[in-house]
Symmetry: C2
Subunit: 210 residues, 2 copies
């Protein structure tokens, strides 16, 4: 079926949110861990992780200031530090539950039953149950004025990852730790690698490298 802009505008609000979110496809769900100035830990699931560059290593995510995630944004702006914690299959329900609108004085770690971990070299809490965790430091906040969202760009400060999922060329087999892919606001997927292809060149067709 063909859907035009006017049809999208006329969709019922919740239907449209589900449809447009799901249409954006597969993405990486991460739990973002922060701490408030008064020391309260916060944990919230985001599905908008973006690779911006490898050197320097920069990731970004999109944040809506007017949602429950405002605590995450506020804490990052105040402390500059945050963690990205990947979601394996076994903690999907707990991870999803962090999206509930808990009061600012309640830690989502406690509310959903995940364990905050502090490491001597980093100023924000990690998730013990997450097999891959990244410590990030804020470098830039970009306002997307067209719909009042913000893009938070940070540098990778530290990575904790199992040795045995990193290949000799640096590739990471996320599926070995059952890291879930997400679609839309509420769907979680297992994955299975079809192929890795060689660098594309004009004079040769790509060949399978895995």
């Amino acid at each position: 079926m063909i859907i035009h802009k006017e049809d999208i505008q006329q969709m019922e609000q919740r239907y449209r949110a589900t449809f447009i979110n799901a249409l954006a496809g597969y993405r990486q769900a991460v739990l973002i861990g922060t701490q408030s100035i008064s020391g309260i830990t916060n944990l919230a699931i985001f599905n908008s992780l973006i690779h911006i560059g490898a050197n320097p290593a920069l990731y970004a995510f999109v944040c809506r200031p007017d949602t429950v995630r405002r605590d995450t944004l506020k804490n990052i702006m105040n402390t500059q530090y945050y963690t990205l914690n990947y979601v394996p299959e076994r903690i999907i329900e707990k991870a999803h539950q962090t999206a509930a609108k808990y009061d600012a004085n309640i830690s989502e770690f406690d509310a959903v039953g995940l364990t905050p971990v502090y490491k001597e070299y980093f100023k924000a809490p990690f998730v013990l149950e997450s097999p891959i965790t990244i410590g990030m430091k804020l470098v830039q906040k970009i306002d997307i004025t067209i719909n009042n969202t913000v893009l938070i760009i940070g540098t990778i400060e530290t990575i904790d990852i199992p040795d045995n999922i990193i290949g000799s060329d640096g590739f990471i087999a996320l599926e070995k730790e059952t890291i879930a892919a997400s679609v839309g606001l509420d769907a979680y997927y297992t994955t299975d690698c079809i192929t890795r292809l060689s660098y594309a060149k004009t004079d040769t067709w790509p060949v399978t490298i895995r």
Copy 2:
């Protein structure tokens, strides 16, 4: 293993690119179709599709001006129109091959063997072999000065999608069309839905809705 910022900086360049790209996790690979002012079609694979908002329906992608994708950026800035074409399992190799550095006067459609389709209501070429296609119009280009990348934000103008993969609540079952998830620069995945969970509330635990 723990990897610190200094370790990342000291990684061999290609290893680092592979590692940091793969670590960013699952994402949606799309073929972006454009047309130059002189009428040459261009097709390039991107794996940085981002959901910015549902009302208005806005998607973005990250573009490096200094790579082969410059033709895509140039065409979008000149014409304002572009298409997003999802990659099913059966065209992964052709889609990947669009990343090769073909001369500006060669159409990647011809080079890799995909078929451009023009529709009367839209000014950029779609991919015939793609089961889900979206027509986009540029609304904003944001320069990310820290590493000389740009964020291209567009509105969804038109969507062509099979009726039978859209659920009654608007959710889209991408796996029914074998739409591939991607990791890093070169890996493609099939997916399998584990669960969809209900809207998270503080007084109830999420329940499976699919």
